[in-house]
C-alpha cells in the first residue's frame, strides 16, 4: 500500500508494507502515482504534457525514472503487497497468557483537581483509595509468575498521584530489585507525576530507579493553571516547574517526558510545547484531551483542521530549532526508521488486556488504565488471575486487521489498530473506530516522517536532539544505497 503526500516542500512516498520511505521530486511523484494503472507510453505522454517545457524533463529522463520505479517494485520497496494479515493474531497466540507490563494504580487520589482528568481526580469514578504494599507485592509476584520467558518487565506507577503513596512505590521497587536476579527478570520502572510532592529524596530515588519519568505540565502558565489547580482552585505551575527543572537537571536531562494535555481551549498547543522547550525541557509530549463529547474542554470537529495545521507548524519549528542546535524531541515524532519495531509489534495491537494490564489499589485487573472504573471490563484480580476470559478475548483479537475500516488505511502499521479505550469511549465498542483520533494520528505520522526525510536530505543542516539512555533512538533519517542485486529470495514474509 502506498501513501503519497507533500509537506514542507518534500514529496514523500511511503511504501507501508515494506516500511520504505522515498523522498522524490514532483515528476517521480506523479510517475509513481500513475505507474500501477498506466502503460509506459501513457505515463510518458502525461508527464511530457505536464512537465515538457522544463529543461530537466525529456522522454529519456521519464523512461529512466519509470525504470527506477520498476526496480524499486522488483526489490519490494514500492507497491509491496500486504501479506501480513495471517500473522496478525499469531504473536498473541504464541505468547499465550504472558503478561509483561502492569500499570500499578498505587493511588486513587490526587492532590490536584484538574478539570479534564480522565481519571476523575484520580478516583476513576469510584472511591479514593491507596494501594497497600501487600497488594503491590502480590501484583509483582503475579507479574513475574505470568511473564513466561519475557525478561524485560515494565511497571508504571500511576494514579491519581503516585507520589501520594511514595513509601509503597519505594517498597515495591526495592522488593522487585531483591527478586529480579533470581527470577531472571529485568524490571523497568516508570512514574507519572504532577510534581507537587517532588523533593530531593524523591528526585534521588527516581533518578536511581526509574527508567523514565513522565512529568505533567501543560505548557504556558495561564493554560496550565486554568485546569491544573489544587482543591482551593490555585494553579500549580509556579510550584511544579522549579521542581521539574531540578529533577531533569539531576537526571542529566534524559529519560523523561514533559507531558501535557491540550483541550478545546488551547488548540494552539504548539505554543505550549514551545514554552516547555523555552523552559529548557527537551523531551516533550502533548496529548489531545480525553473527555466526553459536549464537555466544554472536548475537541470539536471545527478544531480538527486547526490541530492538523498545528502539528505541521510544530514539525517545521522543530526543524528550524535544530538548525541552531536548539532542537527537542516530541514523543509522537520519534520514529526510528532503521531500528524500530518489527512487523509483529506493528500488527499485534497495543497489548492491552493481554500482555499489559492495570491493577487497582485493591488488586483488580483491567485491560488498561483507561478502562479502570468500567466495571464490565474487570478481567479478574491479582490473586485469581484473569477469570473473564471472554472479555479478555475481545482484546486478544484487537490488532491492525481487526477493524474492517482499517483495511485501506495506510497508517495501520504505525498504530497497530489504535487505542481500544479510545475506540470504546467513542463508539461503545473496543473494535470501533475513533476517527477523530485516527485523523490526528495520520497527520502526526506524516509530520514525523517528513522530519526524517529532512534529516536525510540535509544531514549537515539539522542537529537533532538525541534522547539518551535505554530509549535511545536513531533520530535523523539517512539515505540508503539501493544495491543492484538485493536478494529477497531468502525471506518468506512477502511472497
Amino acid at each position: 500500500m502506498l501513501h503519497q503526500y507533500e509537506l514542507n516542500g518534500y514529496h514523500i512516498v511511503l511504501d507501508t508494507c515494506s516500511g520504505s520511505v522515498h523522498s522524490v521530486d514532483d515528476v517521480a511523484y506523479d510517475i509513481i502515482a500513475l505507474y500501477p494503472d498506466h502503460t509506459e507510453e501513457e505515463i510518458v505522454s502525461a508527464m511530457m504534457e505536464k512537465y515538457g517545457e522544463r529543461e530537466d524533463v525529456n522522454e529519456d529522463e521519464i523512461l529512466e525514472c519509470i525504470g527506477d520505479v520498476r526496480y524499486l517494485e522488483d526489490h519490494q520497496k514500492l507497491y509491496t503487497p500486504d501479506t501480513y494479515e495471517p500473522l496478525a493474531g499469531e504473536f498473541k497466540k504464541r505468547s499465550g497468557d504472558v503478561i509483561k507490563a502492569l500499570c500499578l494504580h498505587v493511588s486513587h487520589t490526587c492532590n490536584l483537581n484538574c478539570e479534564y482528568c480522565f481519571a476523575s481526580q484520580g478516583k476513576y469514578h469510584g472511591d479514593r483509595a491507596i494501594m497497600s504494599f501487600e497488594v503491590a507485592k502480590q501484583a509483582m509476584d503475579f507479574l513475574v509468575a505470568h511473564s513466561g520467558t519475557r525478561r524485560n518487565l515494565e511497571v508504571d506507577f500511576f494514579g491519581g498521584e503516585p507520589l501520594m503513596n511514595w513509601d509503597v512505590v519505594k517498597q515495591t521497587v526495592d522488593y522487585c530489585r531483591s527478586i529480579e536476579k533470581e527470577a531472571g527478570k529485568n524490571f523497568r520502572f516508570t512514574v507519572t507525576t504532577n510534581g507537587m510532592l517532588i523533593d530531593d529524596d524523591i528526585i534521588d530515588y527516581c533518578n536511581k530507579e526509574m527508567s523514565n519519568v513522565v512529568l505533567s505540565l501543560d505548557g504556558r502558565k495561564e493554560v496550565h493553571d486554568r485546569t491544573r489547580v489544587d482543591y482551593a482552585g490555585n494553579g500549580s505551575w509556579e510550584r511544579i516547574v522549579p521542581k521539574f527543572k531540578k529533577l531533569v537537571e539531576a537526571r542529566g536531562g534524559k529519560n523523561y517526558y514533559m507531558r501535557g494535555t491540550f483541550t478545546h481551549l488551547n488548540t494552539d498547543f504548539t505554543n505550549d510545547i514551545f514554552t516547555m522547550a523555552d523552559l529548557g525541557f527537551r523531551e516533550l509530549s502533548m496529548e489531545p484531551v480525553v473527555c466526553k463529547p459536549g464537555d466544554p474542554l472536548a475537541l470539536t470537529e471545527d478544531d480538527l483542521p486547526v490541530l492538523k495545521e498545528e502539528y505541521e507548524l510544530l514539525a517545521k519549528e522543530m526543524l528550524r530549532r535544530e538548525e541552531t542546535g536548539d532542537g527537542f524531541t516530541f514523543y509522537h515524532y520519534m520514529i526510528d526508521l532503521t531500528s524500530g519495531p518489527c512487523i509483529y509489534k506493528r500488527i499485534s495491537g497495543c497489548g492491552s488486556g493481554t500482555e499489559y494490564m492495570a491493577v487497582t489499589p485493591w488488586g483488580d485487573l483491567y485491560p488498561c488504565h483507561q478502562f479502570v472504573g468500567e466495571e464490565e471490563y474487570k478481567l479478574g484480580d491479582i490473586w485469581n488471575g484473569v477469570t473473564e476470559k471472554e472479555k479478555q478475548d475481545e482484546f486478544r483479537y484487537c490488532n491492525a486487521y481487526a477493524r474492517p475500516d482499517c483495511a485501506d488505511c495506510w497508517a495501520k502499521l504505525y498504530c497497530s489498530g489504535g487505542c481500544a479505550a479510545n475506540a470504546y469511549h467513542a463508539t461503545g465498542d473496543v473494535k470501533g473506530i475513533y476517527e477523530y483520533g485516527c485523523e490526528l494520528f495520520r497527520k502526526r505520522i506524516e509530520c514525523a516522517i517528513m522530519i526524517q526525510v529532512a534529516h536525510a536530505e540535509h544531514p549537515d543542516l539539522y542537529k537533532p536532539h538525541r534522547v539518551g539512555g535505554d530509549k535511545a533512538v536513531t533520530l535523523g533519517g539517512r539515505l540508503a544505497e539501493v544495491p543492484d542485486d538485493e536478494d529477497c529470495s531468502t525471506c518468506d514474509g512477502c511472497d
Binding site: 515494506s18 516500511g19 520504505s20 520511505v21 522515498h22 523522498s23 522524490v24 517521480a28 525514472c65 527506477d68 524499486l72 519490494q76 520497496k77 500473522l87 499469531e90 504473536f91 504472558v98 509483561k100 507490563a101 500499570c103 480522565f118 524485560n152 515494565e154 523497568r188 513522565v214 509530549s285 496529548e287 514523543y331 520514529i335 526510528d336 532503521t338 531500528s339 524500530g340 519495531p341 518489527c342 512487523i343 509483529y344 509489534k345 506493528r346 497495543c350 497489548g351 483507561q370 504505525y414 498504530c415 497497530s416 489504535g418 483520533g437 514525523a448 526525510v453 536525510a456 535511545a472 533512538v473 539517512r478 539515505l479 540508503a480 539501493v482 525471506c491 518468506d492 514474509g493 512477502c494
Partner: protein
C-alpha cells in the same frame, strides 16, 4: 536514481521472519497513556 532518494529503513519483510520476541516496551508504558502508537517503540534486538 536522479529523482528518487530512498531512506534507510528496517526491512519489515525480513522482520516477519525473525521478529516477535515480545521484549520491546509496551506501547502505553511511555509518555502518552491516551493513544496508541507503535511506530516510535524501539526494537530490543537491534
Amino acid at each position: 536514481m536522479s529523482r528518487i532518494n530512498t531512506l534507510e529503513t528496517k526491512n519489515l519483510c525480513e522482520s516477519a521472519k525473525n521478529g516477535g520476541c515480545g521484549e520491546c516496551q509496551t506501547s502505553c508504558q511511555s509518555a502518552c497513556k491516551t493513544s496508541c502508537g507503535v511506530a516510535n517503540q524501539q526494537c530490543e534486538q537491534k
